[in-house]
Amino acid sequence: MGNMKLLEARQNEIVEEFSMFGDWMEKYEHIIEMGKELNPLVESDKTEDNLIRGCQSRVWLAARKDEVGDVVFSADSDAIITKGLVALMVRVLSGAKPEDIANVDLHFLEDIGLHTHLSPTRSNGLASMVKQMKMYGLVFSVRS
């Protein structure tokens, strides 16, 4: 059984966190900080299979299922702002039930005014990454 409330709570927490920042540059400083804090992907996970190619930056995404059946994501990017956004995605979706990941309504980027980064025209690989994360959710929920 899923628990969509968990993902909702995580999204709301991020929205609240960002509401403290006065201007755009502060928001970006925070994103950069999170990018720096995200554990880098181990080199063995930086494979061609895990690579999501954006026009502007590259994103790597790896996923596995833990002992209780939750999906654990790890991710990385060669660009720090993208990496910060990737860290936010991992924070929301990692350690959740696969069916919740597949069905989640991701609204927090829009709420904090960063949804342009998700636009396919931005070509930073983030939109493809979100699609890929949901795909993992779908695949893992079918397999269980």
Binding site: I32, C55, Q56, S57, A79, I81, T82, N124
Partner: protein, 409 residues
């Protein structure tokens, strides 16, 4: 700094330059991707659509005549400005990419065989690579790459060595969109002709920045995009020498390009340029492109070139004061393009933060992946200049960069 060049007066002709982005006055340093439009271009398009829009070449009524005259007048303007021998040598296309695809699809398909060789430089934009790769995968000819030096200039020794392969076609850009290198189009053309090759020049980045004399260069084909020379998007032109155009088969089939159509006897085709202009063209775009060229002439392309050179030199000097900044493309002859990277930062991060500060630059591989791979970099930040840019804007770029670098490192 550059004499009588009144950049303030020029800026007043571009309404978009008055706007703010993210609360900052717009600093538009992305003219190599697309130049902004002066009032005369906007007004010309509006006037056409408001007063004499009609389909061209076929109507007998007053509007059709007026529209046709304006459309053909634009062709005459292009012919005169670029010094083609006759109007028939100017074919309206959707842009430079479209023109290259036309040459590949007609001249290329008719003249290249499995044993042919096509030369192109490592500097080329994807637009001048991919149409030839697609055709090569069909026909089987060989593509050879002319190497460059690290400063971004063509290695003439390598060029001569590759010309010894007796290529059927040589393709090169007049100006590199990523590095700004101005290639010596006349010299490269003459060497190619000595080797018996046909020459196709991608002039997308040259046309907005300098006077281009096609008969002097003596190339066989030349393409350019209207939107990079202060005109509308979706319009550009292909220049081809008349004898080649006469011999080339048509490309797209449709109205306008025919002489006579029948189900019983073979359909016959119109003469150039109409043979290659199937369907209703981008009439308002062509007319406004004519206005854009007249606008560039009114400022004077030599004046624009001198102003942009001064901006480029100033940008080089200021940017190099930033620690860890490296400029890609340091040829002696450069158009208004400065590509760079800053140690320890990713170009897309710099671009994102510069945008927040109202500075529009381009980041990424600039549709020149083979060139980026050669430098072993993921891309660059590219600032590019137009007639309307100022020294203050370069100072604004440098200040924004310093702030962004501080945040990222």
């Amino acid at each position: 700094m550059d004499g009588n060049y009144d950049v303030a007066a020029i800026r007043r002709e571009f309404p978009i330059l008055e706007r703010k982005v993210n609360g900052f006055p717009l600093v538009y340093l992305d003219s190599a991707a697309s130049a902004q439009k002066p009032r005369t271009v906007i007004e010309t398009q509006r006037e056409y659509l408001s007063h004499f829009h009609s389909n061209i070449h076929r109507g007998v009524h007053a509007l059709a005549t007026q529209a046709t005259e304006a459309f053909e007048g634009a062709r005459e303007t292009i012919k005169g400005h670029f010094n083609a021998a006759e109007n028939a040598e100017i074919i309206f296309t959707a842009g430079a990419t479209d023109g290259i695809n036309l040459v590949a699809g007609t001249w290329g398909r008719a003249n290249l065989t499995a044993s042919s060789t096509v030369l192109m430089t490592r500097l080329e934009h994807h637009s001048n690579i991919v149409p030839w790769q697609i055709l090569a995968s069909e026909i089987g000819f060989k593509i050879e790459v002319i190497e460059i030096f690290p400063e971004g200039t063509i290695d003439l020794e390598d060029y001569n060595a590759k010309l010894a392969l007796a290529p059927s076609l040589v393709c090169f850009s007049h100006v590199s969109n990523t590095l700004g290198t101005i290639n010596d189009a006349k010299l490269l053309t003459s060497l190619a002709h000595d080797a018996g090759a046909i020459v196709m020049v991608d002039g997308a980045q040259a046309a907005p920045h300098m006077n281009v004399d096609l008969q002097d260069i003596n190339c066989d084909f030349y393409v350019a995009s209207g939107h990079k020379m202060y005109g509308p998007t979706g319009i550009g032109f292909l220049y081809g020498k008349r004898a080649l155009l006469d011999a080339m088969p048509p490309w797209r089939g449709g109205g306008e390009m025919i002489s006579s159509v029948s189900f019983d006897v073979p359909t016959t085709f119109n003469v150039p340029p109409y043979k290659f202009e199937a369907g209703t063209p981008h009439i308002s775009g062509a007319i406004a492109l004519g206005a854009a060229i007249k606008w560039m002439e009114s400022v004077g392309l030599d004046n624009i070139a001198a102003h942009e050179l001064a901006l480029t030199e100033y940008a080089h000097e200021k940017l190099l004061q930033i620690e860890g900044l490296r400029i890609y493309g340091t040829a002696e002859h450069k158009a208004g393009v400065v590509s760079f990277l800053v140690e320890g930062t990713h170009p897309s991060d710099l671009g994102t933060l510069l945008d927040q500060l109202g500075v529009a630059v381009r980041t990424g591989h600039h549709c020149t992946e083979p060139l980026m791979d050669w430098y072993k970099i993921p891309g660059t930040v590219r600032a590019s200049f137009g007639a309307y840019n100022t020294f203050d804007e370069i100072d604004a770029l440098v200040a924004a960069l310093e702030r962004a670098i501080k945040m990222l490192t």
